[in-house]
């Protein structure tokens, strides 16, 4: 479903060059979870960005659902992202001027889901993440855990086939983190999506099907916890 092959990325800042990713390859099949593990600055976020089309790698290819996403035009990539990908960011990244309800409904509206169906799905997700009462709240009125739950609900609202989560539990306490991870895994399983999650949270690592360790942009170890 998702394949990265020989992906390399170099950041240039003046004369300085930092190799964020060096010849990284991975594959994630439908319905499975890959945890990308590593210290801060190891290249986890860069890898997720390259896989999600948010960043163009300098080397290698990323194939997502059979498409070489970096060969697509800007418009085609955007349309691909809106239909097939979902992102959960480290700090939620909700749209500050939209309510919880509107944030979750945003990708559905983008995909042209009719209002009635959209309302049903948003309310269902709000129920699922336990924020039914906060649907009219603005992001600034939510706690960190609530923001992450809304961010997750927004990411899965349109039923994406690939879900990318960048350290989703980094800013949460362990109980909230465990609840969120369990919820993510449940929904991903129900939707038969693939989940790629960058983390150094042992809770996430424990529950992932596959684990890839990155250090200084290089794969240092791969573990397989369950058969594909």
């Amino acid at each position: 479903m998702v394949r990265a092959l020989g992906v390399g990325k170099i950041y240039r800042s003046g004369r300085r060059q930092v190799e964020a990713l060096c010849n990284v390859s991975c594959a994630v099949e439908r319905g499975t979870t890959l945890a990308v593990v590593g210290k801060s600055g190891s290249g986890k976020t860069t890898l997720l960005n390259c896989i999600g089309g948010l960043e163009r790698p300098d080397r290698g290819t990323v194939t997502c659902l059979g498409m070489d996403i970096h060969a697509l035009s800007r418009r085609s990539l955007s349309l691909f992202q809106r239909q097939h990908l979902g992102f959960v960011f480290q700090f939620g990244n909700l749209l500050s001027y939209l309510t919880v309800y509107e944030n979750i409904g945003f990708p559905l509206a983008l995909n042209g889901v009719p209002k009635k169906e959209r309302d049903g799905r948003v309310l269902g997700l709000l129920e699922r993440v336990g924020l039914r009462d906060s649907q009219q709240a603005l992001p600034r009125e939510l706690s960190g855990g609530e923001v992450q739950r809304v961010s997750f609900a927004r990411a899965v609202a349109h039923g994406p086939q690939v879900l990318l989560a960048d350290e989703p539990t980094a800013s949460l306490d362990s109980d909230t983190a465990r609840d969120l991870v369990q919820l993510m895994l449940d929904v991903v399983q129900e939707q038969a999506s693939s989940l790629i999650v960058s983390t150094h949270d042992p809770v996430v690592i424990d529950l992932a099907d596959n684990i890839m360790h990155l250090r200084d942009g290089k794969v240092v170890d791969e573990e397989r916890y369950s058969t594909l």
Partner: protein
């Protein structure tokens, strides 16, 4: 983009503006005050032009002047929609004599009551009074009085030529307009004082505000034939016409310059606002919003804000202009030596279609232009860079 997509983005833009209340208010106020100020300034420019025209034509000539009109033609037959008054004047050349001093003059005979009602020359009387109907009195310029060494109450003799019998006239008053053409050898006296019927008469036609003199002339030519000799103030006062055109051009340049500067300020503020919210555009990009949709969203945000602020600006501009036009602004201190303000230095600002649509239109266009840079910035930046930097 489909209609439902457009509706969706317009709604998102509206929510963005509504919920970024403080920033929207500050940016809108800049546009609103600029539009209102420019509406007031352009209505002042129109008011100054009006005052110059009013002063120049009301003094003597009227908005339209008719020459060599048939004696049988009654002034009432020249009354049309937009015409405020038609003053009949009979002109004859002649000599004014005081002792052994002679001056060649143009004697204008007319109905004093009509002159006072329609023209403003009587306001420029510096000594004595206006001649009265039926009395053998004349009003002459201060210049002529000095040349003939007369003052109000003195007697003068008028004769059409050296061989004709003199008519004795009493100097009722002296005038001084500051307009050289009027202040030389023009002398006024009531009708029927001078014997003999001139071959034709002249008409000074005064119009209501907003009436177009060219349209009136067209109507007269339809009535009296194409050869009828009517001239608008545009033809009789080309210097004033040029001055007014110059005023409009310079006002338009001012409007563009002011808005250029305001637009620069608005766009700078908007760019700062955009940079502050850049992360949010990165988020929508990550969710798969296309470059066209992002550009449309940004343009809609700016457009909506400008539209609302411009509407407010138009309303404020109209209210301020209307309030000021009740009393006018007295600029006599700056116009007292100006021949285009010979009667009154009061300027009454007037709204025109141009002064109403130009400022908001320019605000809207400049606002949209100001949205180009942020839109290009968001579209061209990589989503990951925006999210990292935001």
């Amino acid at each position: 983009m489909r209609l439902d997509a457009i509706t969706f983005w317009v709604r998102i833009a509206g929510l963005f503006l509504l919920r970024s209340r403080r920033t929207t208010t500050v940016l809108s106020l800049m546009v609103l005050l600029s539009v209102a100020t420019l509406i007031f300034l352009s209505s002042m420019a129109v008011g100054i032009n009006d005052a110059m025209v009013r002063n120049s034509v009301s003094l003597y000539s009227g908005h339209v002047s008719g020459f060599d009109l048939a004696v049988a033609l009654e002034p009432a037959s020249l009354e049309r929609k937009g015409v405020a008054a038609v003053v009949r004047r009979l002109e004859s050349q002649g000599l004014l004599q005081r002792d052994n001093r002679f001056e060649r003059i143009t004697l204008v005979t007319s109905d004093p009551a009509e002159e006072i009602r329609s023209a403003a020359l009587w306001r420029k009387i510096v000594a004595g009074r206006h001649p009265q109907a039926g009395k053998a009195e004349i009003l002459l310029s201060r210049y002529l009085a000095q040349r003939l060494q007369v003052r109000p109450g003195d007697q003068l003799h008028f004769r059409q030529n050296l061989d004709s019998p003199p008519v004795t006239l009493l100097v009722s008053g002296l005038y001084h307009t500051g307009v050289e053409k009027l202040d030389r050898n023009l002398v006024f006296c009531p009708l029927q004082v001078i014997a003999g019927v001139p071959a034709g008469w002249s008409a000074a036609i005064f119009l209501h505000d907003g009436a177009n003199p060219e349209d009136i002339v067209v109507q007269y030519r339809k009535l009296l034939g194409e050869s009828a000799n009517f001239k608008t103030w545009h033809e009789l006062m080309p210097d004033l016409r040029q001055l007014i055109d110059l005023n409009y051009v310079s006002m338009s340049i001012v409007i563009f310059i002011v808005f250029g500067l305001v637009a620069l300020g608005v766009s700078s503020a908007f760019v700062i606002f955009m940079l502050k919210n850049l992360r949010e555009y990165g988020i929508v990009k990550a969710m798969g919003v296309t470059p066209l949709e992002i550009s449309f969203l940004i343009a809609t945000e700016v457009g909506m804000m400008n539209f609302a602020a411009s509407c407010g600006g138009v309303a404020l501009g109209v209210v301020v202009t209307s309030l000021v036009s009740n009393t006018g602004i007295d600029l006599t201190a700056f116009t007292s030596h100006n021949r285009y303000f010979a009667v009154s230095g009061i300027v009454i600002p007037r709204l025109t279609v141009y002064s109403l649509w130009a400022p908001p239109m320019i605000a809207f266009c400049f606002g949209l232009a100001a949205s180009i840079w942020p839109a290009v910035l968001v579209v061209r930046s990589r989503t990951a860079d925006i999210l990292r930097g935001g």
